[in-house]
Symmetry: C2
Subunit: 192 residues, 2 copies
DNA sequence: AGGGTGATGTCAGTTACTGCCATCGACCAT
DNA sequence: ATGGTCGATGGCAGTAACTGACATCACCCT
């Protein structure tokens, strides 16, 4: 028999999400999360850097998956299309965890501190895209713009996916959002 | 003679920027900032909500100025053009404070916590733009996309403005960045 | 003169987070 | 099996961000 119950980090994530949802983020202490997971506060901080990070477990994997997917886009795709290619590929990452995503999203929306952290993760996605695009030979200025635009699509598509009563796939929302972006940026209003 | 030295908040902002630049953000305590401003820690927290907020004084004014400027854009401008109109208008806000902006930017870049807060302010700008655009009659989905894209332009233009050795105006960088965005989103690569 | 006001000070308390050392089952080498 | 190392955890003390409650006291108004 193992010395400790397995998957301490997983238990902490579950306890944190539950407590943040039940009582609210600010009203929950790290000691309470640790206690519910059968651990101590000190151990919590060995698994997660701070009180917020416990809700952002998949972000590194997501970032790597997105970067890898964009890397695999056909070489002749435009920067924005390459990003869109990657976004559609990672759709399953969300589609498979819909219930969890809804809960997590509701918790994050309820706390400015958590929103800040989410924005930071979003920014890391932008940086990862810039790196991949530049490696594809895209000029830095263009890469930055394509990455920002791509993550805007990522974000708005996610918001729509969360709210979609029909529960259509994430990839579908990406396609729709990307089409809207293209419609938006056609050159200045036609004369007349 | 006044009971206290005037402009306590201003002194705190100056002290904080100086100390963050000299010693680094993490190595500076709020008590030290307050002491340099001739105040106590408790008084610091009456002027600023937390250790980060002291660096984001102009953000509310900037947000209101941008919203007002977009509001004044000609009614027949496309959503994105209306935002661009607003961005050019607020250019003086930056051009007049170049030295300060450089120092502040260097400090923020050096600390993840400060970057998080800056992303939050950026997000507030997006929200303000969405509100203004919707009031102009733009459909919510389009408004969200135009706001996101517009703030991407805002942000990248700012980064280039900061790094520009020729110190050209902020509005010029907005124009260039916007043109790049339009070039980026033209429909998928032409055949052949 | 006297009372109200507002910016500040003082102090005690909570909680996030960190460094250091102790514990002790598991695992490995002999 | 013996002994030693390892790795995840606990315990504890300490720092610093932030908050609430109350006191102070020049200024202002009447």
């Amino acid at each position: 028999m193992a010395r400790w119950e397995p998957d301490a980090a997983g238990r902490l994530r579950q306890a944190a999400l539950d407590l943040y949802a039940e009582r609210g983020y600010e009203e929950t202490t790290v000691a309470e999360i640790a206690a519910r997971a059968g651990l101590t506060e000190r151990t919590y901080f060995r698994h997660f850097a701070d009180k917020r990070e416990v809700l952002f477990h998949g972000s590194t994997e997501l970032q790597e998956a997105l970067a890898a997917a964009v890397e695999e886009a056909p070489a002749d795709e435009s920067p924005l299309d390459a990003v869109a290619f990657g976004l559609r590929r990672i759709g399953t990452f969300f589609d498979e965890r819909r219930a969890f995503s809804l809960r997590r999203h509701a918790v994050i929306r309820s706390s400015p501190e958590l929103q800040e952290r989410e924005l930071m993760k979003r920014d890391a996605l932008v940086a990862a895209l810039v790196e991949v695009l530049e490696r594809r030979g895209v000029a830095p200025a263009t890469a930055a713009l394509a990455a920002e635009s791509g993550i805007s699509v990522f974000h708005l598509a996610y918001a729509r996916w969360i709210e979609d009563p029909d529960e259509r796939s994430y990839a579908e929302h990406v396609d729709e959002t990307l089409a809207s972006l293209r419609a938006l940026t056609v050159s200045p209003a036609p004369t007349g």
